[in-house]
């Protein structure tokens, strides 16, 4: 048996990291810095503290921590940062990209092969980038008889809906894009939107296999939405609120999975079905209906659908964490920020640098993010695992599972929640 992968060598590992750092620095110096300069030249400069912010002044300020930190801090409280970077799209996309990489490597280890290896030198970490570049550079082929506006719009709406789902997830105390009081209802509304997009894209391509795939997706999503919503009612009964941040806050002592294990199991199974993952990947069953509702997509349209799918996967895993595993709550593992740095500044021999405005994030927030990411990655791992273990099931088995078993169990879960509430063991706000 020929072995392709060479043995791990620490020196080569370090060398490959240094190589990557070198190329990143080179590209930044050659492309990034000129780009920043060009942008700074062309935008209208604001006046801050009575001074016109020229590019040179901006660079000076970037080098001076006492001027930069307040600006950064002010920027991080804006809505733009929340939507684009931290609890919103950027954070979710980063986790989704990590999910794709972990999925490919994990499946490869399970199936006794190597997986992505050459792209990026360290275990193929840049494979996703290469795939993205390939998808962008490919021609987008649209069937002649397709309904073109809807065909173009469907993937974009898909990603937008998935991103809207991400926006509802609270990541750390106070860190959520849209903190709505009916958060769980908004989640149900967004989940109800996905089958519509699927059937629109399947129907608009005017082809047989996507049509069958779209109809299957419609059956699957609609019949699993009912147990999904019912399984979450137990949590709502016990917490008495629909606000996701408050649901997390109510689990500061214990997560709901301890009292509502049946609900958690049902929710997990319905997640697998909603995400069209094996063993429920009937809408994309390639040996029966080519690629299901994705058959006619090509190029970046397909890439957008994949991005939306993995954003959706992250959002569902995060929702499981928020509702059943206690979200950001957990013991304090993040070290506290040293007070003397804030008061006395950083002392380096004879030089003392005073940096007012450190730290940017509070200790509770960082600790919460760490716990949230750990729990979410754990749930994502269990969502990915069945792909290596199970074959695909059939549509009649799927429907009978959804309608007979899961709905019945969901009612059992609701009765358990009601029993706990009326027996006075648990109620809104924790143990009574």
């Amino acid at each position: 048996m020929s072995v392709i992968a060479p043995n791990f060598k620490f020196s080569e590992f370090v060398k490959s990291i240094l190589d990557n750092v070198f190329w990143i620095l080179l590209i930044f110096a050659l492309i990034g810095l000129p780009a920043i300069q060009i942008i700074l030249f062309y935008i209208e400069m604001p006046v801050i503290d009575g001074e016109l912010l020229t590019p040179f002044l901006a660079l000076t300020w970037l080098a001076d921590p006492s001027r930069t930190l307040p600006i950064l801090k002010a920027f991080m409280t804006t809505d733009l940062f929340k939507i684009a970077a931290f609890p919103g799209f950027g954070f979710a996309a980063l986790l989704a990209a990590g999910t794709i990489f972990i999925e490919r490597k994990m499946l490869a280890k399970l199936q006794l092969r190597v997986g992505p290896f050459y792209c990026g030198k360290i275990e193929g970490i840049l494979q996703l980038m290469g795939d993205g570049l390939k998808l962008i550079s490919k021609e987008i082929i649209i069937p002649a008889k397709a309904d073109k506006p809807i065909f173009w719009a469907a993937p974009v709406i898909f990603v937008a809906t998935a991103a809207a789902f991400v926006a509802l997830i609270p990541v750390a105390p106070g860190w959520v894009v849209a903190d709505v009081d009916v958060g769980l209802l908004a989640v149900f509304a967004i989940i109800g939107f996905f089958p519509i997009i699927t059937i629109l894209s399947a129907w608009s391509s005017n082809s047989k296999f996507p049509f069958i795939g779209g109809i299957r997706a419609l059956h699957q999503m609609v019949s699993f939405e009912i147990p999904l919503i019912l399984s979450l009612l137990g949590v709502v009964i016990l917490t008495g609120t629909l606000n996701l941040s408050e649901i997390v806050a109510s689990q500061s002592n214990f997560p709901w999975i301890i009292f509502l294990p049946i609900g958690a199991i049902i929710f997990f199974i319905t997640i697998l079905a909603e995400l069209e993952r094996i063993p429920f990947d009937l809408p994309e069953a390639e040996s029966e209906i080519v690629a299901g509702w994705l058959t006619e997509f090509s190029g970046m349209i397909y890439g957008l659908v994949q991005l939306g799918t993995y954003l959706k996967l992250y959002a569902f895993a995060a929702l499981f964490v928020v509702l059943f595993l206690g979200g950001w709550t957990g013991p304090m593992i993040w070290p506290p920020f040293p007070e003397e740095i804030i008061t006395d500044g950083i002392v380096m021999g004879p030089i003392t640098v005073k940096i007012p405005g450190l730290p940017i994030f509070s200790q509770e927030m960082l600790n919460g993010v760490v716990w949230f990411v750990i729990k979410t990655v754990g749930v994502i791992f269990f969502i990915l695992l069945p792909r290596g273990v199970f074959p695909r099931i059939r549509i009649d088995m799927l429907l009978s599972l959804g309608w007979y078993k899961l709905i019945g169990l969901a009612f059992v879960n609701i009765f358990i929640a009601l029993g706990l509430l009326y027996a006075g063991v648990l109620g809104p706000g924790g143990i009574l």
Partner: protein, 378 residues
């Protein structure tokens, strides 16, 4: 000149509910063929397999080459099972030319053909796994198959398309120390395929998915003329290695696997059980094989048949009975070579099995028939 179109292309008036799907030839679940499926909702109303996309005229080509140069191209229809597809041709030519094969060559042939049967079955199993959406079952057999391919490479010099069997024996003797290596690798291989039960054959979803689908009763299996694993999965104990033993099979200790259910699950399980029997056969043959001796009878450069003569030989291949009919008219080239392959006989059952099934069962039933499109087209 008529304007009649082939059956799949002709416009036909159908019920509005019925949709015609062309599964293949460019479809991930069809192989090199087309299945015209008519579905009503999720149920298959009618199914029309349309093979012939990879017809290469092997039989006609055989009429222009002499008995020896026919060997490399006659094995092309199933390159994974090339020893078995050559076996009946070589046996037939030996009978036509009146050659007696040395004892050691017979054992080497049996070992090579059993190894090749396992190689083919692993390939088939990998595709069966991915057809059911089980990607681990695609990767594991494809990787473990390398063990036996390495053995065959040591034996014959080629990973596939070995061209190892020749009239009068085998082309080369075994390399030194082959017996030990073969025994070790075959033992490890048997251990590995027993592990497949945990992830594939005992998987509750797989059993729920494939059991009771595409049931072929014992009577229908005989009536439709199916062979090999399909026939044995329907409860008919029919294995040419037992019924018409060729070479040294009657001296070896093995049994045939028969299941009574006749569904897709039983059809997919029989080749897996057969692989374990193959391991037994290989071990026994290695034990009984003469340790030294000639492996090939020297032939004249351009052997000719003895006047007008014909012979029909058949062996049990990975896909069932594989027959070869050779007619000689006294020239160096055969007058006619006809291959009768198990793939095509098993494909005949497909329209009967798929009628009334769900569309989701199509890959499970289709590939459980142990069908190899290239062999059926020849």
């Amino acid at each position: 000149m008529t304007n009649e179109l082939p059956p799949g292309l002709a416009l036909q008036k159908v019920d509005e509910r019925i949709m015609t799907l062309n599964v293949g030839p460019q479809h991930p679940g069809s192989g090199h063929m087309r299945i015209i499926v008519q579905i009503d909702g999720d149920f298959i109303v009618a199914c029309d397999p349309d093979p012939g996309y990879v017809h290469r005229g092997e039989e006609k080509m055989a009429e222009y080459r002499n008995y020896i140069t026919n060997i490399p191209h006659l094995e092309r229809p199933v390159i994974h099972d090339s020893c078995n597809i050559l076996y009946p041709y070589v046996l037939g030519v030996e009978e036509l030319l009146g050659i007696e094969v040395p004892e050691r060559a017979k054992y080497i042939r049996v070992i090579a053909s059993e190894l090749n049967r396992c190689v083919y079955t692993m390939y088939w199993l990998a595709i069966y796994g991915i057809f059911l959406g089980h990607s681990t079952m695609f990767m594991w057999p494809a990787g473990d198959r390398e063990l036996l391919i390495d053995l065959l490479e040591k034996m014959t010099g080629a990973r596939v398309t070995h061209a190892h069997f020749v009239p009068g024996g085998v082309r080369n003797d075994l390399p030194p120390n082959f017996e030990d290596v073969c025994l070790r690798q075959v033992n490890y291989f048997e251990k590995r395929i027993k592990e497949y039960a945990a992830i594939f054959y005992d998987n509750p979803i797989l059993i729920a998915r494939t059991a009771n689908t595409g049931i072929l009763s014992r009577e229908d299996a005989i009536r439709l003329g199916t062979t090999g694993s399909v026939l044995r999965a329907s409860g008919v104990d029919y294995d040419l290695r037992k019924k018409e033993p060729y070479d040294v099979y009657e001296e070896l200790d093995f049994q045939t696997n028969v299941l009574k259910e006749g569904d897709s699950y039983a059809r997919s399980k029989i080749p897996w059980l057969d692989m374990m029997e193959s391991c037994r056969i290989i071990r026994h043959a290695l034990q009984k094989m003469p340790k030294s001796g000639s492996v090939r009878v020297k032939l004249k450069p351009n052997p000719k048949g003895k006047g007008l003569d014909s012979v029909y030989k058949r062996v049990e291949s990975g896909r069932g009975s594989l027959g070869c009919y050779i007619v000689s008219d006294g020239k160096p080239e055969p007058y006619r070579v006809k291959l009768s392959v198990g793939s095509f006989r098993n494909l005949i059952a497909l329209p009967y099995l798929l009628k009334g099934e769900k569309l989701g069962n199509m890959p499970a039933v289709y590939w459980s028939l142990n069908y190899w499109p290239v062999e059926a087209d020849r």
